[in-house]
Structure formats: C-alpha cells, structure tokens
Symmetry: C2
Subunit: 162 residues, 2 copies
Amino acid sequence: MRGLEHSLPMQLLRAREAAMIAFRPMLRRHGLTEQQWRVLRVLAEYPALDAGELARRSLLLAPSLTRILQHLESAGRVRRHRDPCDQRRALFALTATGRRLFNRIAPESEALYARLEAVFGSAALLELTQLLQDFSAAVGDPFATDSSPPTGVSRAQGKIGD
Amino acid sequence: MRGLEHSLPMQLLRAREAAMIAFRPMLRRHGLTEQQWRVLRVLAEYPALDAGELARRSLLLAPSLTRILQHLESAGRVRRHRDPCDQRRALFALTATGRRLFNRIAPESEALYARLEAVFGSAALLELTQLLQDFSAAVGDPFATDSSPPTGVSRAQGKIGD
DNA sequence: CTTAAGTACTTAACATGTTAACTATAGCGC
DNA sequence: GCGCTATAGTTAACATGTTAAGTACTTAAG
C-alpha cells in the first residue's frame, strides 16, 4: 500500500497545521477560535448574510455554524434577525462590538500571513494556492460557491475520463 | 484585507475536504472514522508502536489518540501492552480482527485514491504533494518561525539585545 | 536512598466535525 | 384550503480538536 505519510490528504493536513500553528494562539488571546474568526471575517465583508451563505463562505457545516453563531450572539458580537421575505431564513450581521473586535485582530492576522509569505516565498505561495484551487475544482468542491461552469481554468489538467 | 476564500488555510481546507469527501462514506460502511482508519493504517506497517510514534505518524494529538485507541481496543481491533523496558510507554498492535478489517478496506481506499489521481492527473498530483511538503518543511522549520527574516538581513534593523 | 526535574500518557472541559433526524416555512398542484 | 415536496435551520448523539492540568514512571542530581 502507498505510504500514508506522503498521501495527499495527510500532506494537506500537515500543511494546514503548519500554516495555522501561529494563528491559533493569537486568536486565543482575543478569546476566539479559528472557526469563530472565520465567521467574523465573512460577516465583516457584508452588511448581512443568511446562514447558508455564511456556511459556504466560511467552510463550516450547518450544525457547527449554528453553535458558533449562538456563541457569538450571546457574546454580543453578532446580531440575528429573520428574513422578512422568507421566514425560514435567519440573517446575521456584526454588532459594533463585533466590528471593533474584527478591526483589532485583522492587522495581526495580516502580519502572520505576511510572515508565511516571506518564509515560503510569494511565488511559491501563489503557485501552491493556484494548484490547490485547480485540485478542488477538478475533484469537485462540495463547498463550491460558484455554480457556473469553470470558464477560465487554464492550469488544470481537465477531466481525464470523459 | 486579503480575501478569506483565497487564503492558503482556506484553500488547504477546501482541498482536503474535496479529497476526503468520497473516503468518509466508504469508511463509515466499515464502521470506521477517518482518524480510526489512519491509526489502523499506521499499525498495519509495524508489529508494534508506542503511542507517541503512533501520534506523530497518524497526525493526531495525544488526547485524541488516547480516545481513539480506547475505542479500537474495546472493539477488539487493537491490543495494548506496556513496554517492559519503560513502564510509562504503552505499545499497540493490530489484532487478527483488526488486520482483517485493514485488509478488507485497503483495496477500496486504493481505488478511491486512484480515482483522485486520474481526475487531477498524476503529474499535477505529484507537483502538488511536493509543493505541500516544501511548504511544511519551510514553515515548520523553527528558524522560520523566528522573528528574524531569512539570511542576508542582519538583526541591525530589529531590536538589538537578543 | 531521596528528591527534583523530565517524559509518556491520560483526563478534563469546552468547541467543532459529522451524520441523521427533526421543526418550521415556502412553493406547488389539486 | 389541503396535501405534497423541497428548503433553511436546528437539535441530537457521538467522535475528534484543542488547551490545560493531572498521574505514573524514569532519570539524574545530591
């Protein structure tokens, strides 16, 4: 059997662990988990989002997102209200407190990411993210936000078994 | 701020999710989780391993591994005994039942991995795994996490008293 | 021998991952 | 309206992720 330690899923796990190792202690000092930070980052880009869109953009499963939003709401960082056009939907937005927290953390997050880029190299980092994007697109991204066909995928090998 | 969805940690998460999406249902049909399968795969390569080595090779944190081994042991798939040379260590090995389970699953796992390779392309897959390995090595290097940039830049610009 | 420091593993507490089942609303056809 | 199906979100149950603290053994100093 092929070596487990060199398989793609393990390499992806190891690389992500290496990438995140510096972020978690920083976020913890601000009282956030990695996933809570992902939700805040997405919410910071929009005036309001429903839970479905939030789940897709933060790469969280619905049950996890439910718990995270309950926690963020009780901590006063997020506000919820029902969509008047569709009573099934719940809309979420940052509170002023949540916005301030985001504004405090964002520069630190940027600094850590910049260090990653400096250590690994901008070119290599770009190449890696492109290759990862190609892979997700080729294999079939279950979290894909883009429903339109991949018009301009120039780097991917394309489908082989057509 | 940089786009969250195109950041490296998110791309790594998305790619891993895409890679694993077909494995989890298969493993579930055999009554295993992804992490339990990682432990069985590592144990299948050695007559016996202590928990520390098992944790490193399966990329699991010690507390997770403790629970997983307790579960596998009570299911009769793994056997434990203490290291006679060091009573702190616990050694683990597959039982005959565990070995048979591994032998049943291994070909299915191989088949799913082969499909990944066929869809994305062998060359691209090799390039990606190589790049991931480079990244983990570069970022995981303790010298890289130091505040000083790569060689060539002296500490003159930074704080002087280290 | 005795004690202090280190190592290997476990336990605890809380948060998230994962699958399945559940509730409430929406949309459709009759 | 009524019933059917689909969708959005939640809850439940169990497994793992993550950090901190605890336990048992080892090692080395005194």
